[in-house]
Amino acid sequence: MTDQHEVGPGSDVSGPTSWSIHLNDVSVTYPNGTTALRNVSLDIPAGEMVSIVGLSGSGKSTLIRVMNGLVPVTTGTVAVGPHEVTHLRGRQLRQLRGHIGMIFQGFNLAERTSVFRNVMVGRFADTPTYRTLLGVSSERDRDLVFAGLDSVGMLDKVWTRASDLSGGQKQRVAIARALAQGPSVMLADEPVASLDPPTAHSVMNDLRHINGERGLTVLVNLHLIDLAQQYTTRMIGLRAGEIVFDGPAAEATESNFEHIYGRPIKSNDKLAN
């Protein structure tokens, strides 16, 4: 499972525009009293490839989820592209989410159904509910699904049951699902934490190509410092819900990481030991 492939051109169907992201003094406190983010302000210009680094529990997942409204902010404002996420409800919020692709650590596929139907999930925001209910898809939706799969080299698995895929293949299907949205922003929550090192690199490569060739803004949560340095240009360090580092990923030093992690760097903080 180390086959290399390119997220090639020709899959750019709708010509999405890239969006910037602005967080202004965002705090999130969950109903159980846990404060996940404290007064986070952040400006990410369109087209940047950013990693968010921190230990588990540092607020990485929350930070990424306030951007598409999966987690509502307690105070502060979040703007993605032309939209003020914090003010959106219902239909408008779903429309915004349609412009933001997201992939997850656990791939989040419906394992008992086909790759095709999983990627079709990426078309939900642009599909009237009655059409989904009837199970009919438009020619354009199918084209976008096939294009998404093609650009991650998974077109030959389109009718395969998701449970029959390997971990790396599942994550690529998840990327195809996000690409089928025709997104302007790509969020990735620990996308390689469940993958073996070679597969992790190939998935990171896919994300880099999405950023490079489509010009999408890409945010990746990572806890492995060498991946962050190798694949992203800007790195944001989170510790206990606060930004403790923000700068070029390549220039981050060992002591920067020790500050982010609040302890000496260990060998398993890197993918390549």
Binding site: L70, G98, G101, M102, F104, A110, R112, T127, T129, L133
Partner: protein, 270 residues
């Protein structure tokens, strides 16, 4: 080989729940005893009659285990009616159970305002015994298979919706978050992925209620709700226990065949 002394582990004291078990057993025993004391309103169990009347039972049993198989041809039509009721009932209930189940599960319907009424209605439907439905519906609609069919549908929906919605709620559904993140409505997510993912829960319960339906619809005829039960109650009224034996034997065969079939289907499900 020298004999080494067994290691003595310094363990924390093992938690014991003997007191609790004793309490539970005591409570059950007391409750059982009390409910069997007629003096304080318990049920009257006349064990003596068991001894007095065992001859009756023996004679009856003798006829019963010598079923009059020549009676069978007369049972085919009512048996077919029973099977039709069972299959049609399970089929209609299967179709209706899908939206109701997704409505009743918390994970597929986070809105309390629409979930709670469905759950409440289903609980009420489940609380009424099937024979009560049949009796009332026969009084309303009249004698025949229709009240029986409606009884089965209500009974099946109660079971399927409760069991499958609980199974859905007990599971983890990370793919739902992906559907929400992609901008889907709850209905789209339910239809697009949850349904595909919950298919085995549904089919399992559908097959189960199909088995139950054969058994129940065999009895429903006793109150006039169609099927082979009418024949059972008729032959029993004539004390023709050899005929009743034949019918029971037939039901046994049908139930076993249906179970074999559903086991076969179940094994193919994952």
């Amino acid at each position: 080989m020298t004999d080494t002394a067994p290691t003595v582990w310094e363990l924390p004291p093992k938690p014991t729940n003997r007191a609790r078990i004793a309490l539970i057993i005591g409570a059950i025993a007391t409750f059982t005893t009390l409910t069997c004391l007629p003096a304080i309103g318990g049920v009257e169990l006349d064990f003596a009659s068991l001894v007095d009347n065992w001859r009756n039972g023996a004679r009856l049993g003798r006829e019963f285990i010598q079923p009059d198989l020549s009676f069978l041809p007369r049972t085919y039509r009512p048996m077919l009616e029973t099977l039709q009721m069972a299959v049609v009932g399970a089929g209609v209930a299967a179709v209706l159970s899908v939206p109701l189940t997704l409505w009743a599960a918390r994970q597929t319907n986070p809105r309390l305002a629409t979930r709670q009424p469905v759950r409440f209605t289903i609980n009420v439907v489940r609380a009424v015994p099937d024979l009560v439905y049949a009796t009332v519906l026969v009084a309303v609609i009249g004698v025949g298979p229709l009240p029986g069919l409606i009884t089965l549908i209500l009974f099946d929906i109660g079971i399927v919706v409760k069991l499958v919605s609980e199974a859905i709620d007990a599971g983890e559904h990370p793919y739902m978050e992906a559907g929400m993140a992609a901008g889907g409505t709850q209905v789209q997510v339910n239809r697009g992925v949850v349904l595909a993912q919950s298919w085995p829960f549904f089919t399992n319960q559908w097959l189960y209620v199909l088995e139950l339906n054969v058994r129940i619809s065999a009895i429903l005829g006793v109150v006039g709700a169609g099927g082979i039960g009418r024949l059972i109650s008729e032959r029993r009224a004539f004390f023709a226990y050899d005929d009743v034996g034949a019918i029971v034997f037939e039901i046994l065969v049908v139930v076993i065949v249906i179970e074999l079939f559903s086991n076969l289907v179940r094994r193919r499900l994952t």
